[in-house]
Symmetry: C2
Subunit: 192 residues, 2 copies
DNA sequence: TGGAGTTGCCTAAAGGCATTAGGCAAGCAG
DNA sequence: CTGCTTGCCTAATGCCTTTAGGCAACTCCA
């Protein structure tokens, strides 16, 4: 009964790797135990339950994304910043599909707030600082970008844009052009 | 052993209702059997397996959405059509959160093509007919709308926009303004 | 109307994941 | 070296999925 040296951190990191390999949905306490060559019950001293494990993986992914975002945003503004952040999301999703799926997991508000949620919100607002948007339009724009990135990554990860032309790469570039143009020329409310 | 009169259709419909009540993730062969007061094994003559059941619920939802979309789009063009379609997605998600989640389930390409996927693509292109977009920009725009609707509905369903101001309703209206403006003034590619 | 056949729902069984309770031994402190 | 903490284990329960095989309820046709 050699001790393996489990810790919550090691479990979460291994869980994230597992997610990237076999998909976030397949990340299970049992599979993780198998990976450490340890009995399932042993994990329960380090992780509350399955949901807790998945939540922690999501928080790890959000943290990593925020780190990358902060690095990418440094010294950039306007469209440059927009494209940099967009590519961070996208590249992360390609390198770490499982983690990226985890990052889109629904978290209860307190958990999200305690984690990197705040950093993400701040970063999005930092991008918008390069455009001339007053409140409440800035918030609308935050939600637009959030929805678009979330949706695009979901669809691309799900294979929605493969096997069809033009390729996803081109669409991505052009849509960033389009969003930049939109943010520069944000329309006034239409007549009700 | 009175016969209950199970059919694939009844199972799928009941599954969709179950999804709306308890969430798509909780839709399980066992739960469905319980709802019909029938043993679990009995469902397996009508549905291949759990994944098949969920897929069929997704296809039902896509079909319903396409029906509503077709009705909403009739006789509308331009922004009017855009808003009508957007509201179809959104209202459906509110009335039938479980089905709406199902509709965003990842389907393999053949299944999607065999189902209402084609109708959805056609409808989106019909909306864009009111704007002056040539290929490949039209395809880019299809993907933009798809990503945005998908993402927005996901976030809203997950509670992302509740408990914060401005309320989701206002953002929704303003973002439709914004998308309309963008489609009317679609930018040329930026210099590489 | 009364079989004969089909079909629908059942029993039985095996395998997997999640979770909890309680035990033993490995590693640390003195 | 002795005792204590703590980490991993055994054991057990409950729920879900899926398959195989059986009996009874319908159907249909003579």
């Amino acid at each position: 009964m050699a001790r393996v040296g489990l810790t919550p951190e090691r479990l979460v990191r291994a869980g994230a790797e597992l997610a990237d390999e076999v998909g976030f949905d397949e990340v299970t306490v049992s599979a993780l135990a198998r990976r450490f060559d340890v009995k399932v019950a042993s994990l329960y001293s380090h992780v509350r339950n399955s949901h807790d494990l998945r939540t922690r993986i999501a928080l790890l992914a959000l943290e990593e994304l925020a780190d990358r975002g902060a690095a990418a945003l440094a010294g950039r503004a306007g469209k440059d910043a927009l494209a940099a952040m967009a590519n961070v999301y996208r590249d992360y999703a390609r390198e770490h599909p499982g983690r990226a799926t985890a990052a889109r997991m629904r978290l209860d508000p307190e958990t999200a707030a305690a984690g990197a949620g705040v950093r993400h919100a701040r970063m999005t607002r930092a991008i918008l600082r390069g455009y001339d948007l007053e409140e409440p339009d800035q918030t609308h724009a935050v939600r637009l970008l959030g929805s678009f990135f979330h949706g695009y990554v979901s669809l691309e990860l799900g294979g929605g844009f493969s096997h069809s032309l033009p390729d996803s790469e081109e669409t991505w570039t052009r849509l960033l052009d389009a969003l930049d143009a939109l943010l520069r020329n944000w329309p006034a409310p239409s007549a009700p």
